[in-house]
Symmetry: C2
Subunit: 341 residues, 2 copies
């Protein structure tokens, strides 16, 4: 998009965009928390979900929520609201069909934990949509409306997708919502996101599942002795299985090489224990990895500024995210204020 | 040992045993916490360690601590104290040599995280010792005197070994110390303990090491996106590597089949993801495992009583532990009060 077009968009529609209404489809942990959080910061916000239980619970808590997804989307179309898809990947295509029918021109984003698969569905079902993929890194092992809260996104990383075709004015609108409700924004391509979450989210879930299985097979004795290392290592195994399946199976391409890496390392470790009896390589590498993580969280960041109207803004945003950086604010003239270690 | 002998021991020495002095060799996290906890409940307690830093820190905190292990053991011999070995497995043989030289007749216990290897060392170096193996399940990722505290064992499971040759009067003495400082006692054979901890402690440490390695290799981006599942899954990877090596390498025989089980499950999962794309079997089994753990912790226990002077007391104790049971008190006539779900 030429720089002038973006600037014109800012000038004529910038004010409207910053207070865009929010329509949330899906009112589980993430969608439900988003409806609460958007309402809490003064946005006009409503939600719809196929789950009668979640809709009833949200309405009972005083939120504008129903089970009529079509009506919610028509209302979004009427007020040019931002539509947030907060359904599991397995339910996405059906909702996209409704978006195409009832709100085809709305700004569209999502909060699904895999991004390439969502991008493929959006391109297939709603190719004309101004779509910005998103993923707030703010899950818990709980699910459903009752598990959510308005503060869930406080301090969380919220990945927002930057592809070649991404409309940066739309991107800024979604980023403002994420920033308004306390998150910081990590700009990334879908592919870079999916590779990273295979390592730091999907592999942890699968290792936790294997550990919980092997622990339980040790019977009451093993359960009685289980302490901190087991409790921590298995915590996410209590997540609803269909949600874990949706994210791991939906990220198959990025997950397979990561699983192969894990299998290779575990196999080498097993061989070493059986032959020399030594586990130094595995344990030392793991300890160094834990230091890398600790240092990353403690590093002193450097401030960066990035104009979304610059011709290479997409490259700049992705480079910031890939270096572990984040955006913490957006100025009125769409300059991203960020930091990177 | 004939029943009469045990009863005689109780009658003539029972009172002395319950207030036996405590000599702790090794003043790291566990040994240091034990010296504090034993002192806090009114025991005469002192410690020695080869670590000048730990000895100085303990002395600065007002405890009776030094680097002269031989002197500490001689004092234990003089007062017929209980000697607690709180050194890593790799340092055990050297300390056992000193025990044989300076305190050969003292009641001896340990707090090492593997038990068959300790039993083999004790049988080799101090075959005449009245030895009761022990393992408080109360580690943290920290180490050294400064990391410890008197409350570390509150609510923790403290495994105490019951072998064919175990002197149950000595066993009761050690159990009373563990109970006095807030732990509950899990009676088990060394073999049953080692099989269980391979599942619920050593495998978690190794999976955490592999996860921390693979996560860190994702670079700053992966570290920036890492949230709850990664933080929990890698927490114990920050434990001091030599301590993790000592416990995992020292439990090689029990650990190998558990590692093979993990490799088999991960390999089958990888194959399933690559072929059908499905991970249902892995994820469902893990979820069921997490429910088994949750139910075990929430189960309502039934009370049990077990006389340590019964002819089948050893079998009864081990059976209690293997069923996930625990001992919560010992009466003056050496009846164990326990519970099992």
């Amino acid at each position: 998009m030429p720089e002038d077009a973006i600037r014109a968009g800012e000038t004529t529609a910038g004010k409207m965009r910053t207070v865009r209404d929010v329509c949330v489809i899906g009112l589980g942990l993430i969608g439900g928390s988003l409806l609460r959080a958007a309402s809490a910061v003064g946005r006009e916000a409503w939600g719809a979900t196929a789950s009668e239980a979640d809709a009833a619970a949200a309405a009972a808590d005083g939120f504008d929520a129903c089970t009529d997804v079509a009506a919610a989307l028509r209302r979004a179309a009427d007020s040019d609201a931002m539509v947030v898809l907060a359904v599991p990947l397995t339910g996405l295509d059906e909702v996209l069909r409704q978006v195409r029918e009832y709100a085809p021109n709305c700004l569209l984003t999502d909060v699904t934990s895999v991004k390439s698969a969502v991008l493929a569905s959006v391109r297939a079902f709603t190719p004309e949509a101004r779509f910005v993929g998103g993923h707030p890194m703010a899950g818990t092992t709980e699910s459903g409306w009752r598990a959510g809260n308005a503060a869930l996104f406080g301090g969380a990383a919220w990945m927002l997708g930057v592809e070649e075709e991404t409309d940066l004015a739309a991107w800024a609108d979604v980023a403002r919502l994420a920033l308004d409700i306390g998150a910081h924004v990590v700009p990334l391509s879908a592919a870079a996101h999916d590779e990273a979450v295979a390592r730091i989210s999907h592999l942890p879930h699968l290792l936790a599942a294997v550990l919980a299985t092997i622990g339980a097979q040790g019977g009451p004795l093993a359960m009685a002795l289980a302490a901190g290392s087991y409790t921590d290592g298995t915590r996410v195994a209590s997540t609803r299985p269909d949600l874990v399946r949706a994210m791991t199976e939906g990220n198959r391409e990025a997950l397979l090489p990561v699983l192969d890496d894990a299998l290779g390392r575990l196999g080498a470790m097993r061989g070493s224990l059986a032959s020399t009896g030594g586990l130094a390589a595995t344990i030392t590498a793991g300890h160094e990895g834990s230091l890398v993580f600790a240092r990353a969280r403690e590093a002193t960041p450097t401030g960066v500024r990035l104009s979304l109207s610059a011709p290479d803004a997409r490259e700049g945003l992705r480079a910031l995210g890939e270096r572990g950086g984040r955006i913490t604010a957006l100025t009125d003239d769409d300059t991203a204020i960020g930091e990177v270690a």
